[in-house]
Amino acid sequence: MKNYLEFEKPLAEIEGKAEELRALARQNDEMDVEKEASALDAKAETLLKDLYADLSPWRKCQVARHPERPHCKDYIEALFTEYTPLAGDRNFADDHAVMGGLARLGDRSVVVIGHEKGHDTNTRIERNFGMARPEGYRKAVRLMDLAHRFNLPVVTLVDTPGAYPGKGAEERGQSEAIARSTQKCLEIGVPLVSVIIGEGGSGGAVAFATANRVAMLEHSIYSVISPEGCASILWKDAEKMREAAEALRLTAQDLHKLGVCDRIIKEPFGGAQRDPKAAIEAVGKAVEAILDDLSKLDGPALIKDRRQKYLDLGAQGLAA
């Protein structure tokens, strides 16, 4: 672990000390530090457990955005075989913020679509930090059409700060592109499963996540606006993001109570970033289970199921 979040600083100190001790011991054969180092390890583990046992909504936002969290590309590489990326919206460009193509999940052929944020400076720029432009949504529409025609389930992996607020994106009809993608999600007669793996940012997320079943990783978030954006509008102070994160009720746990999230996928101890492999496996199992479940429904029933899910939302609120 190289990247510690702000609230993990005490943990960084303890883990750092243990690491230092062990480094010293490697240089000096006489020293026996293992007992001391193990004690620090134990202390670190307890602290980690405490920190993650009850993450505040703002801390969840930070975990959801953790740079070492597995991203769409990691899930696709680990979970799917024969992934064949398909590019372009047949109109203007290929959007690298959106990955998508044909792939196999177990013995099923599927279409997989997702936002990819990138993992270092170059790839982040190439992926535009996971912020799609209109071409990204139009590529998704094209792939969903393909899935519908060949009767393939669609799996979407959602991880985006939101749509890209750029000049060209607006000129080329960002709004219309998002709206059409949401509409396409509602129209396809094949199972559509969506997993929020990190950040579900506003309309950019809805465009992929209007699904029969929406699963969320334990520490992922899904929100109408970023806490920072909400704070600057409603509190007139972007620094009030903690308060905004609380007020927005954007955690997987709250969204599950509201019926927006159908299933919470447990993350490995200390968050997906500490054990990406385990997180990816958990997502794979959940998606397969949901697809098994949905395979009982035919095309019209799937469309009806999806519509009803959204029509029914809002029947219950949250406790104060």
Partner: protein, 306 residues
């Protein structure tokens, strides 16, 4: 339970009963500064007679000008639960709602009505920017679904006037979920083969633009209306450059292929009727200001037989 079976008979409503004497007899045009007398302004559909600036129009004013004789029936909208998240920023959400209700005299940010425009039956929905910036929450979602269901039930077109700052943050994720919910409403109209016409008025932004406002069979905008997903300020902050003149305005969107037409408010009614009647294969309309249609006496419900 389905909302059609829940449907409450519409109440007949006339704007005249609600029209109050404005507190200020004079309004200053925010564009050119001309002082406009209230009577002149309302006769001109709230458009500046000097510079053609289209000012805001409440849903009741709009329906009053659109429907024959200014008469329409309100379509009932199922009431959503209030304050589902117990949202509080610097104010409590219920307090903001109370304030909006007090200043507008309206229940929420959208009004749905049915009536006749030049003897053409329509269902119309109109968003109210003066009510919490027209924000799309559960009520607005319910209103659009109710409007679509009513249109399908009556086999009428739906004309929707959009105006909103976006989703209502105080309803959190449930406001965001109105994007797919209202899209379901659009699907109902599409399946029924009924025209769905969006009239985009100033301003239409955010999640509203990125859902039902951009899914019309026709998109007609009022002149100079701001129509966008991300607002110009956010974009300027992101790309760190000045945006061109007229960026994201109706005429700019027309040039970029996102709209069918930009139409002056004084021509809107006739244009809507003209296209609706063609889309629905009806003969041309009798034009001009028609009085309110004769209200036929309500046929009593037959007694339930088993």
């Amino acid at each position: 339970m389905n909302w059609i079976s829940n449907y409450v008979r519409p109440r007949i409503n006339s704007i005249f009963s609600r029209r109050e004497v404005p507190e200020n007899l004079w309004t200053k045009c925010p564009e050119c500064g001309t002082m406009l007398f209230h009577r002149e302004l309302s006769d001109n559909f709230n458009v500046c007679s000097n510079c053609d600036h289209h000012m805001a129009m409440s849903p009741r004013e709009r329906f009053g000008a659109l429907f024959d004789g200014g008469v329409f029936s309100e379509v009932q909208v199922p009431e959503p639960i209030a304050d589902p998240l117990h949202f509080r920023d610097q104010k409590r959400y219920p307090d903001r709602m109370r304030e909006a209700r007090r200043t507008t005299g309206e229940k929420e940010a959208m009004l749905v009505a049915e009536g006749e425009m030049m003897r053409t039956p329509v269902v119309a929905a109109c968003q109210d920017f003066s009510f919490m910036a027209g924000s799309m929450g559960m009520y607005v979602g319910n209103a659009i679904i109710a409007a679509a269901e009513r249109a399908v039930q009556m086999r009428r077109p739906l004309v929707l006037f959009s105006a909103a700052g976006g989703a209502r943050m105080q309803e959190g994720i449930l406001s965001l979920m109105q994007m797919p919910r209202t899209t379901v409403a659009v699907e109902m109209l599409k399946e029924a083969g009924l025209p769905y016409i969006v009239v985009l008025t100033h301003p239409t932004t955010g999640g509203v633009t990125a859902s039902y406002a951009m899914l019309g069979d026709l998109h007609i905008a009022e002149p100079n209306a701001l129509i966008c997903f991300a607002g110009p300020r956010v974009i300027e902050q992101t790309i760190r450059e000045k945006l061109p003149e007229g960026f994201q305005r109706a005429e700019y969107l027309l040039d970029h292929g996102m709209l069918d037409r930009v139409t002056h408010r004084k021509d809107m009614k006739e244009e809507l009727v003209t296209v609706i009647r063609m889309m629905m294969n009806m003969p041309p309309a009798i034009k001009g200001d028609l009085p309110a249609p004769e209200v036929e006496p309500e046929q009593p419900e037959p007694a339930e037989t088993s």
